[in-house]
């Protein structure tokens, strides 16, 4: 099978959906040249740097029969549009009693590791998870990002594709033919029997690397990738937790009220899963600070394969 990058897989998803449905168009402060060449400047629009307006315009066009994609680029810039996201997009279908559909897809890169310091290294998806009315994904492979983005563009709701900055250049197998990945379905990336690592985005790969190391030490690790944050596939996560009885949750965001906290709650509030746990749930997250610039500081703040391995060894002991 051919291999392409995570970033290229996202662009393929957009191009394919734009060929499939002429109601799909794209608003971004950085119009991709290849997409402009294929679809023209009417459908691939380069916009002013005014994310609030773009976010609202996408919503308004969605309520008027189109299926816009609004690329915020970095999640950092979505904060400029918070009124439109929080007060408008997440509530518009509900507060109007479900009168019409708002199929708008927002995209944002998340995560750090790029030495860009506090404002450009954020993983704030749990802030959005807390809003009822938005679906969102956080894929970890080129295959998943393409398949999920296609599903999002076809979904009839405001949706967010969070995509990992660290994974943009990562390559992986993506088939030539048409496929989608369903929203709300987690994926077991590696089977194991001793400890479950539930990992998000870049940390899926760190967890897989840790699992290799740990296998040589005689510890069998199962790696589960939720892929979708809302709606979360709690059942797949719980099934793995019940199977191994030991769970590490790895997230590039800080722990406080994070996706990791939500996952821990989903596991432990389920009586059967709670009864099957042999140890407390362990979280391996970023330290709860703004992300610093200097490599020494940044690397200290983020979790990685060593920290995951250490947590697994602790639990398996």
């Amino acid at each position: 099978m051919r291999t392409i990058s995570y970033a290229a897989a996202g662009l393929e998803a957009i191009a394919e959906e734009m060929r499939r449905d002429d109601k799909v168009f794209h608003l971004s402060t950085d119009a991709n040249r290849d997409l402009v060449d294929e679809f023209g400047e009417q459908r691939i629009r380069g916009t002013p740097i005014a994310e609030g307006a773009l976010t609202g315009m996408g919503l308004g066009a969605a309520g008027s029969g189109f299926r816009p994609i609004v690329d915020w680029r970095m999640v950092t810039f979505s904060f400029v549009a918070m009124d439109q996201i929080v007060n408008q997009a997440s509530k518009i279908h509900y507060m109007f009693g479900g009168q019409t559909k708002f199929p708008v897809t927002y995209r944002a890169s998340v995560g750090g590791g790029t030495r860009l310091a506090a404002q450009h290294s954020q993983s704030p998806y749990s802030m959005f998870m807390n809003l009822a009315g938005l679906k969102m994904v956080l894929p970890s492979t080129p295959y998943d990002v393409k398949g999920l983005l296609k599903s999002l563009i076809r979904d009839d709701n405001p949706v967010i594709s969070f995509e990992s900055t660290r994974l943009m250049g990562m390559t992986g197998e993506v088939p030539d033919g048409e496929y989608t990945v369903p929203i709300g379905v987690a994926d077991v990336k590696r089977q194991g029997s001793d400890v479950t690592v539930i990992a998000l985005a870049w940390l899926v790969h760190e967890a897989l690397a840790a699992a290799e190391t740990l296998a040589a030490e005689g510890i069998s690790v199962e790696v589960v990738d939720p892929r979708t944050l809302v709606p979360m596939d709690a059942e797949t996560l719980r099934a793995s937790a019940r199977k191994t009885g030991r769970v590490v949750i790895a997230d590039e965001a800080g722990p406080t009220a994070g996706a990791s906290a939500e996952i821990a709650a989903l596991l432990t509030e389920d009586p059967d899963t709670f009864a099957a746990l042999k140890a407390p749930v362990r979280r391996v997250c970023a330290l709860q600070v703004p992300i610093p610039y200097s490599p020494v500081l940044e690397d200290h703040v983020f979790p990685d394969r060593e920290k995951i391995a250490e947590a697994v060894r602790d639990l398996a002991r």
Partner: protein, 324 residues
């Protein structure tokens, strides 16, 4: 007041304005009586803006409204029964009781919703304008907002894009002199919001917002320009909020008695009544009284409809979070 409109068309505008007036008087009464919940913001005194503008629109043209939205709904053709039922929190309301006064919408008539955030709707309706342009069928979109919203970012961001892309938009600023509890006189950088249009290279028009015929003339010109692909227009309607910011009892009122009295003399409804009476008797006292009685009966039946409607099932709170 001058116009080329037929007497019938002017009487229809009068009727629309009076429906808004009577609907809101009743909504206020029923809110004070505890039958309507939360908050009610009245549009009373500003009816000429919604009616004058919407009379220049087709059913499939789109508008977006504000927290003071009943007038825009009614002028665009919304059903009074479903509006009143929404205020009453009933299942038969426009939003099945999930929205209330600040969130009435009727997408079927191009009414994209009232909005509880000042300036919150401007970019959304600009997206509807973008959709209209891409669709290419000559539809236009109208953003109603107040002087308060004209000081917020979405006003500037949206008009800039609409001008750059020549979107079929009409931006209607209802300058009622008060943004909640702050006076336009102390918050606007210059007196006329319309003057800001120059900065975006589009026409900016100041109009007497209490003269429905003048508002209508300005709207016709802006709509024609938008349909012709010539881009947006900013219309500033000078008007006045005759009531306090909300109908909530005990709220501090910063307006002066002199200011209120001066604007009551310019009430848009008596002005049109006098105009029609003066024009070769195009309206008689008896006709006006009959029109008002008929409107009062219509409002009463909307209340009857609301009161006879069931409340939603409690579990319906879990429905409509997502489209299926």
């Amino acid at each position: 007041m001058t116009t080329t409109l037929t007497p019938e068309a002017q009487r229809e505008m009068l009727r629309q304005m009076q429906i808004i007036r009577r609907f809101e008087e009743r909504a206020s009464d029923d809110y004070i009586a505890g039958k309507i919940y939360g908050v009610v913001h009245c549009y009373i005194g500003e009816e000429a803006v919604a009616v004058g503008v919407c009379a220049a629109l087709n059913r499939d043209d789109q508008i977006i409204s504000t927290h003071r939205g009943h007038g825009h709904c009614i002028a665009k053709g919304a059903d009074l029964n479903r509006m009143m039922a929404e205020l009453y929190g009933r299942e038969t309301g426009y939003c099945k009781g999930k929205g209330g006064s600040m969130h009435i919408a009727d997408f079927g008539i191009g009414m994209l919703g009232a909005n509880g955030i000042v300036a919150g709707g401007i970019s959304i309706v600009t997206g509807a304008g973008l959709a209209a342009q891409m669709e290419g069928k000559g539809r236009v979109a109208v953003s109603f907002f107040g002087d308060g919203a004209s000081n917020a970012g979405p006003f500037h961001e949206s008009i800039n894009i609409a001008s750059a892309w020549k979107l079929p938009m009409i931006y209607v600023c209802e300058n009622n002199l008060w943004a909640a509890s702050t006076a336009a006189a102390t918050t606007l950088a210059q007196e006329d919001v319309a003057a800001r249009a120059a900065g975006y290279g589009i026409p900016g028009v100041v109009v007497d917002g209490n003269d429905v015929l003048a508002v209508h003339e300005a709207a016709l010109e802006a709509v024609a320009r938008a349909r012709a692909g010539e881009g947006p227009t900013l219309i500033e309607c000078k008007t006045y909020r005759q009531r306090r910011h909300t109908e909530r009892p005990g709220q501090v009122d910063y307006r002066t008695d002199d200011e209120i009295a001066a604007w009551m003399d310019r009430d848009p409804i008596p002005r049109l009544v006098e105009h029609l009476k003066g024009q070769q008797g195009q309206l008689t006292d008896a006709e006006w009284a009959a029109m008002d009685s008929e409107i009062m009966a219509t409002i009463q039946s909307s209340v009857d409809f609301a009161e006879a409607s069931p409340f939603p099932r409690p579990e319906a709170a879990l429905e409509d979070v997502f489209a299926d």
